[in-house]
Symmetry: C2
Subunit: 205 residues, 2 copies
Amino acid sequence: MIPPDQGNNATDQVERLIALLAKLPGMGRRSARRAALRLLRDPAGLMLPLADAMRSTAEAVRPCRLCGNLDTVDPCRICTDPNRDQEVLCVVEGVADLWALERARVHRGLYHVLGGVLSALSGVGPEDLRVDPLLARVSDGHVREVILALPATVDGATTAHYLHDRLRPTGASVTRLAQGVPMGGALDVMDDGTLAAALKARRPA
Amino acid sequence: MIPPDQGNNATDQVERLIALLAKLPGMGRRSARRAALRLLRDPAGLMLPLADAMRSTAEAVRPCRLCGNLDTVDPCRICTDPNRDQEVLCVVEGVADLWALERARVHRGLYHVLGGVLSALSGVGPEDLRVDPLLARVSDGHVREVILALPATVDGATTAHYLHDRLRPTGASVTRLAQGVPMGGALDVMDDGTLAAALKARRPA
């Protein structure tokens, strides 16, 4: 380890900024340095506005107590939107997936953010996820359908199975996203699992 | 264009944060969203410290009036370091290159940050770069050698030629970085220009 102020004349302050930027996903040490330089080149136009946006967002945004979505109000604007179907609940792994579905504007019901998926390997059990709050919401009796929009991975499928079992007593119908060839997907680059799933779930043309 | 609060339930505040993050080099819209989520997941541990680091850095760090390096003091710590050779000046395109040379600990003289290279295509002329301050520094008579550590590109070579011409009257010796095969570089993946330069500049083994 070369001490920052020996191998590098960047001040401790800049080093600290780089270290924090490097914690962002997709950022390595090298790209964090480039980002720091970009910020240093435009303090008034980028660095201070970004600092302010982070501070005010950190202070304003919190998880919704009902669904786990992130918003400046709690319950969030989705949960309190009278135009949304309160009887259909879409279960997602995280907020990123909720945002993706909202961008696609395909789901007009409510959401439930699980906060992860079950994983024996990573030691994630049901108690680590927002499973009990989900059961409580569905047991209220207002929910007609629970859509499991979990990742198409082994852990995602395990979690869907588990939730299906736990949700059975509530009487709500439990559905899953269809699996198949994605839009625009060329068959020759699809993996075998996708092709098998797409063939198995084939429908009349 | 889908309005942020229609196609996406992320608040305007989060949208603004994402838009600012997307301005960082190497960040696209998608990775900025992932970065925003990572920040939102850890407000106290990452988002607020990063906001503070940006604010304090923006307020503290400024370009050195002598060499153009970024530091919290002006003149910077390199320019005022009595252990460095005041008679050797290394000319670099930007602060990133200065940092790279400092990390390698190979130059014990001073620096001069040009702020770019000449480019007919991008319309960058000598008046856009810190050329006059360089000539003033060298004309003082204290500078024995000017090392042109400019990028090994057409624009970098053009700039080096131009600076060599302008520096001739000062009497200082002007040198350039050697070109050749980089350390650990396999010959079969080198481009022709590098191989040609390395062969031309061959030395006794």
